[in-house]
Amino acid sequence: MLELKSVSKRFGGIVATDDVTLDVRRGEVHALIGPNGAGKTTLIGQISGNLGSDRGAIVFEGTDITHAAQHERVRAGLARSYQITSLFKRFTVLDNLALAVQARSGSSFSFWRPASAEALLFDEARAIAGEIGLAGRETAVAMTLAHGEQRALEVGLALATHPRLVLLDEPMAGMGPEESESMIALLGRIRARITVLLVEHDMDAVFRLADRISVLVSGRVIASGAPAAIRAHPEVRKAYLGEDANA
């Protein structure tokens, strides 16, 4: 579904991603793990299109999207969420979601008709609010939400674009155990219809959700395979899992 072919990105003298080749298959949850600074977020940026790539090619559903603008990739069904929550903070939950619905339904070069008259936008937004566990919170302003709720809305914004592949950058960042559980449950529900590339530090969540795992260290993929194989991979144990794997 998604193929990265020798993709690289440098920032000045720093190599953030180095010759990354990766494929994400339709229907799977593919986890991308690696220590801090391994280049995971840079790679998400390159795939989603808000960072350009210096070398290599990105192919999504058979189309080369290496040079496509981010909004074109979103329209093609490739959306992302952010590790650092990025919402329309002064808008309500419902308005946040309705905007994302609007982005993929019809033209937004409509200057006269009130958008609030479009029941469809808000019906869909309400349905998504329910799915991400924010039913009853629709009229709350995004910046007033609790951290866990903001993280749910963060993922909800990506889901509202109706992606076929969603790139989730540490959806559980900063969450308590209970919030993590509901996020894992949400990802469990969406995996039936959306392919997921998941960057996550919570190893428990990764091993519960992932069909396959790729390990990124210093910008390079050092291993890629089924969870059991990754767990046993000596280089992975040494470079990343460390004590976690011995425990």
């Binding site: 603008a69 990025s86 903070k89 905007l99 937004s108 958008a115």
Partner: protein, 321 residues
């Protein structure tokens, strides 16, 4: 109450000329017309600056383009406003398209500086147009004519024309702010990166917004030139852009009535200081009336410090409290 307020204001504005006594009519109607025209210009700037979050420091370029295009047509014998004003709007929209297409590739301080630079380029261009007065400006024999039995030369007719243009501009902004497009523009202001990440072509939306604001600014410019029967290059000067920005900030950024309130407050204050001598103040500062901008600056400072949402925001908060 809130819904009724605009209609009350409109009714008062419609009745205003009737309430004027003949002897004061010319002065006050002309002054009110000037406020309406500036209110339209400030409202058009508020669309990009307030709603769109694009801090343009070159809005005078579009007001000035409209003023000059309509004035040049008038001086060449094209008297009809139905030609002159659409031409002014079109020329300003085109200028906004060209300037916006380049400027909107930058952000933050760079955007402020590049819009300023473009406006100054146009200022010097107009300065060098010797055929149309150069730095001395261009005097018009008469105002544009609209036909329909109206003589814009009369202060009453011009007053109502300016009022109609402002009302149309405000209604247009109101509709736009709540439309799909308006919601995207405000979302881009809130979080540009995320707007792109949920699938909006951000640049195209910003450019469209910039062009609409430029076009409306062009109409204000055409009205401004007709109002004073005179135009000079200072209409494009960066300080004129600054005046419009002050109006928006004073009145209320991203508030429907912000441009109107700001224009009325700033022009009213200037007029008050210049034409109404306050004796006790004059006793302390004999020449204070020649330094009106100092007083205006003080008020602006107070607004920014104590009412950062502008005058319109001050009222909005009190209503909710």
């Amino acid at each position: 109450m809130r819904r009724a307020a605009p209609w009350v204001v409109l009714a008062l504005a419609l009745a205003f000329p009737l309430a004027m006594q003949a002897e004061h009519q010319t002065y006050y109607l002309s002054f009110a017309s000037r406020i309406f025209v500036y209110a339209l210009a400030a409202t058009s700037l508020n669309l990009i600056l307030g709603y769109g979050g694009m801090i343009s420091f070159g809005h005078a370029a579009f007001v000035g383009t409209g003023a000059y295009v309509s004035s040049i047509l008038l001086s060449e014998g094209v008297a009809s406003a139905w030609i002159g004003w659409p031409a002014a709007i079109a020329a300003s929209a085109l200028a906004a398209l060209a300037i916006g297409a380049v400027s909107l590739r930058t952000r933050g301080a760079y955007f402020i500086m590049i819009t300023l630079a473009f406006a100054q380029m146009m200022f010097f261009l107009v300065n060098s147009m010797k055929a149309y007065g150069g730095d001395e400006g261009l005097s018009l024999r008469e105002r544009a004519s609209v036909g329909l039995g109206l003589d814009l030369g009369s202060d009453v007719a011009f007053y109502y024309t300016a009022l109609a243009a402002l009302a149309a501009g405000l209604y247009g902004l109101h509709r736009l702010a709540h439309s799909r497009f308006g919601r995207v523009i405000q979302a881009i202001r809130e979080n540009e990166e995320r707007a792109e990440a949920i699938g909006f072509p951000v640049y195209r939306h910003k450019l469209a917004c910039f062009v609409i604001a430029g076009a409306a600014g062009g109409l204000a410019g055409a009205l401004l030139a007709s109002h004073g029967k005179y135009v000079n290059p200072n209409v494009l000067h960066w300080t004129h852009s600054g005046t419009l920005m002050v109006m928006v900030i004073l009145g209320g950024v991203a508030r429907l009535w912000g441009g109107v309130i700001g224009a009325a407050a700033l022009l009213g204050l200037e007029d008050l200081i210049a034409n109404h001598r306050v004796e006790w103040l004059a006793a302390m500062l004999p020449n204070y009336q020649q330094h009106a901008s100092l007083g205006v600056g003080t008020v602006l400072l107070a607004i920014v410090l104590f009412a950062p949402q502008g005058i319109a925001g001050m009222f909005a908060r009190r209503k909710h409290a």
